[in-house]
């Protein structure tokens, strides 16, 4: 019954609107799907901040937020409420239009990306043929927005932070794409549902372990998370590209970081952990629940990384990206190609 909960809701809505012309009917269903995704991301971004603070707390032998609401669950809601009430300071030397556009646009690529992510069996809002390519293309746009924020602030620290973010994102996008190529070579498709279907017997984390490691490291870096959080290195750059932002404009960047993490965790789940497929034949648990379990496990690992490793230096970051990850991912493509050739020659 729960297996098809969301698919059932969509079908119910479709038949409820059966009297309307087909195009309007489909448009309304699509709108409902996208609004549902929007609500999902915003609620997640809000509570992931709470989760991060709890993880940090326990890793540092303290309790973390525990006053507002049961177990402190309403702490982040209270924080957002406070930030909405605060003034958004725009100092006189900013490029005002670009300065205010950046926090508005920062969620756009993330939201667009979620349209192709399959949250469960038949649960992608749009399952397009080039799903993975679409995702990479849209995700690459977020670089421009970080740079807009840093440049428009007209502040040395912001500019340095945003230039670091541009350099870092461009450098780590390359190994990320090359690592995905290993998976695409085996699957032979860029469609999300095909990639998941190809993992029915073995997850790609077992057949492509190096690609998984490279992708995981690169995606942590793409989210600007510790140990790659150079763009907001507090000890050097105050707070990086969002130094000049206050109130809700600041909160937008803060929440966007968690929304981006959600995208990366979903990507790791889809590409390497079998997406919504149930392991060991445990399919009495619905597929969407499996997807969320896997996604939040990856999220937990990323949060632990932040409180375990110190921040690396800029030259180490670039050196690691270009001299270790890129050659390793190229070697992975080569080995995958040979492996596939042998596999076919033996004819398993």
């Amino acid at each position: 019954m729960f297996e098809n909960l969301f698919v059932g809701i969509a079908d119910g809505l479709r038949s409820l609107l059966g009297g309307l012309p087909l195009e309007i009917n489909e448009a309304i269903v699509m709108l409902v799907k996208l609004v549902a995704i929007l609500v999902f991301i915003l609620v997640n971004a809000l509570w992931l901040v709470y989760m991060e603070r709890k993880v940090a707390g326990y890793m540092q032998a303290r309790i973390g937020p525990n006053r507002v609401g049961p177990k402190g669950l309403l702490q982040t809601s209270a924080d957002i409420g406070k930030l909405i009430c605060k003034e958004i300071i725009i100092h006189k030397d900013t490029d005002k239009v670009v300065f205010m556009l950046a926090p508005v646009l920062v969620f756009v690529p993330t939201l667009m990306v979620f349209a192709v992510i399959p949250f469960g069996k038949n649960m992608a809002a749009i399952d397009m043929n080039i799903g993975l390519l679409y995702l990479l293309a849209i995700a690459s746009l977020s670089t421009v927005i970080f740079w807009m924020a840093g440049w428009a602030s007209n502040n040395k620290y912001s500019l340095l932070g945003s230039m670091r973010s541009v350099a870092q994102m461009v450098s780590y996008e390359l190994p990320m794409v090359l690592a995905i190529l290993g998976v695409i070579m085996i699957t032979g498709s860029l469609k999300m549902s095909d990639i998941i279907a190809a993992q029915e017997h073995t997850w790609f984390i077992f057949t492509q372990p190096i690609a998984f490691l490279i992708f995981f490291i690169a995606s942590v870096s793409e989210c600007n998370r510790a140990p790659f959080d150079l763009i907001e290195a507090e000890s050097e750059l105050v707070n990086g590209f969002n130094t000049e932002y206050s109130g809700m404009a600041f909160a937008m960047f803060y929440l966007a970081e968690y929304a981006n993490m959600l995208v990366c965790c979903a990507m790791v789940t889809i590409l390497f952990l079998g997406g919504w497929l149930a392991p060991f034949g445990l399919d009495f648990i619905p597929s969407w629940l499996w997807f969320f379990i896997k996604m939040y496990v990856v999220m937990f690992v990323i949060m632990q990384l932040r409180w375990t490793y110190p921040r690396i230096r800029v030259d180490q970051l670039m050196g690691f990206g270009w001299k270790v990850l890129v050659p390793l991912s190229l070697a992975n493509i080569f080995v995958t190609g040979i492996g596939m050739y042998i596999y076919r020659a033996i004819g398993w």
């Binding site: 043929n129 390519l133 690459s140 746009l141 421009v144 230039m163 541009v166 461009v170």
Partner: protein, 184 residues
């Protein structure tokens, strides 16, 4: 390409966005604003490709042009930054040369548009649903030589960039600087 009323509306909306933003790229006085308008132009161009059912090219358009080319321009701007960015994208006085180039471009476009047999290009059969496999197969069979030449060209550009970046004298200076710091 379907010719329903929606695609016609979408085409004109995209065309106005592209032309408007392209004009703003030229007329904006601040070069940073020009880059942002350029990004919008590129993304709208992807919309035109989508109208033609070329989803692969649309994604590549966003990935390469909006995602990468704009970032390269950003790097260029940052490396030559001036104290005041307000008047960085000014007009020059080369009126005659400019007019000549523009006239040449328009003439070329007009000739090519006139020589294209537009009515033959309208696809009578259905557009293939999955274009990417076909493109991949063509790149590896019929167009394998141009494909490899492009690869070699990119490799040459890569090596050239490394040669320019590895200026021997400055590399030594940096090394000595690092050593000096290490002794402090």
């Amino acid at each position: 390409m379907e010719t329903s009323i929606y695609s016609v509306i979408a085409f004109y909306a995209l065309a106005i966005t592209i032309l408007g933003n392209a004009a703003l790229v030229v007329f904006a006085r601040n070069i940073v604003h020009s880059v942002l308008f350029l990004a919008i132009t590129f993304i709208s161009m992807a919309g035109l490709f989508l109208l033609l059912d070329a989803d692969f090219i649309a994604a590549i358009q966003v990935l390469v042009y909006a995602g990468a080319v704009c970032i390269m321009v950003v790097f260029g701007i940052m490396l030559i930054q001036r104290p005041d960015m307000k008047d960085t994208n000014l007009f020059n006085t080369q009126l005659i040369a400019g007019t000549g180039v523009v006239a040449l471009v328009f003439a070329l476009c007009a000739i090519l548009a006139g020589r294209t047999a537009w009515t033959d290009l309208v696809a009578t059969q259905a557009v293939p649903e999955n274009t990417i496999q076909v493109i991949g197969a063509l790149l590896m069979s019929k167009y394998v030589i141009p494909f490899e030449v492009v690869a070699i060209l990119l490799l040459v550009a890569l090596i050239g960039a490394i040669v320019i970046a590895r200026d021997e004298s400055s590399a030594i200076a940096v090394d000595e600087g690092v050593k000096a710091n290490a002794h402090d």
